[in-house]
Symmetry: C2
Subunit: 143 residues, 2 copies
DNA sequence: GTATATGCAAAGGTTTTGCACAGCC
DNA sequence: GGCTGTGCAAAACCTTTGCATATAC
């Protein structure tokens, strides 16, 4: 069951609907997030874009990310150091990051169902497991 | 089953054993962590100490925390924004932080046992749930 | 044409680093 | 006395903000 990949246009469509403008910078930032295979830091976007679009300013990236997050098309998560951005609704999995070697694995949300139910039942808490990673030791670093 | 509270002396003992020196600054930093009821940010320590021990420098705090973490007596976790330090072995619980109101609750490690077993069995991953918080919506903010 | 978005520059906050001096052992 | 630890100052790093200009609509 493959997902239709999100296209930059659909994000820009959302912007227009809300009365925001479609600028080359915004288009480029969105493309960078889409092309980053998951998640990317704000500064990472700025640096990658600097090559393709000289003159683009980091503050534009920060402001655009804030805006996109506000209208709900992107979200950020914490996978170790600092915020990483991704499209809301994509990237719906939990990160397991190894404290020793830094490698990351993915965990499907399905595997978390029993844990989620426990939190909802016992603590009346609706978890978003994608927001923070889970640290630990991976198979190679365990012993 | 109450735990014996860790005393600054025992930490300083560890320092001495490893050939490090016991200074008033280090003593004060350790006391601040002990007295912080759980966790505290590096800059928080520096600011609180500034009152009791004028002249103490933030860089000393950062360097001391690095050292203490290196020798294993303190650890840090990420509960929302930035690193918070606590004594290794104390504070052994998971934080649930509400993305909406910011309140935090605690979860015992016992409640996580089935989840831990799943990660170990299916992913050969040994999780440290205390390192990152779990984000979500608390009872008051759920609906 | 007008309101919004961008670039630039400056400032803000946190953390790191180099170096000389102080102080623990 | 020697070597480690600290203070100080500066820099590095990331992010935010104010303001004038550019540009999407």
């Amino acid at each position: 069951m493959k997902k239709t990949p999100t296209r930059p246009d659909s994000v820009l469509e959302t912007l227009k609907q809300r009365g925001y403008r479609m600028t080359p910078q915004r288009r480029a930032i969105i493309e960078e997030i889409l092309g980053s295979d998951g998640h990317i830091a704000a500064l990472g976007i700025a640096q990658k874009l600097a090559r393709k679009m000289p003159g683009i300013n980091a503050s534009t990236v920060y402001r655009t990310l804030d805006l996109l997050e506000e209208i709900g098309v992107v979200s950020h998560s914490h996978l170790g150091s600092g915020a990483e951005y991704h499209l809301t609704g994509e990237h719906e999995h939990v990160h397991l990051v190894c404290s020793n070697c830094g490698r990351t694995e993915s965990l499907s949300l399905d595997e978390l169902k029993p844990f989620r139910r426990m939190l909802e039942k016992n603590h009346d808490f609706a978890p978003d497991f994608t927001h923070f990673a889970i640290a630990g030791l991976c198979s190679r670093c365990r012993d």
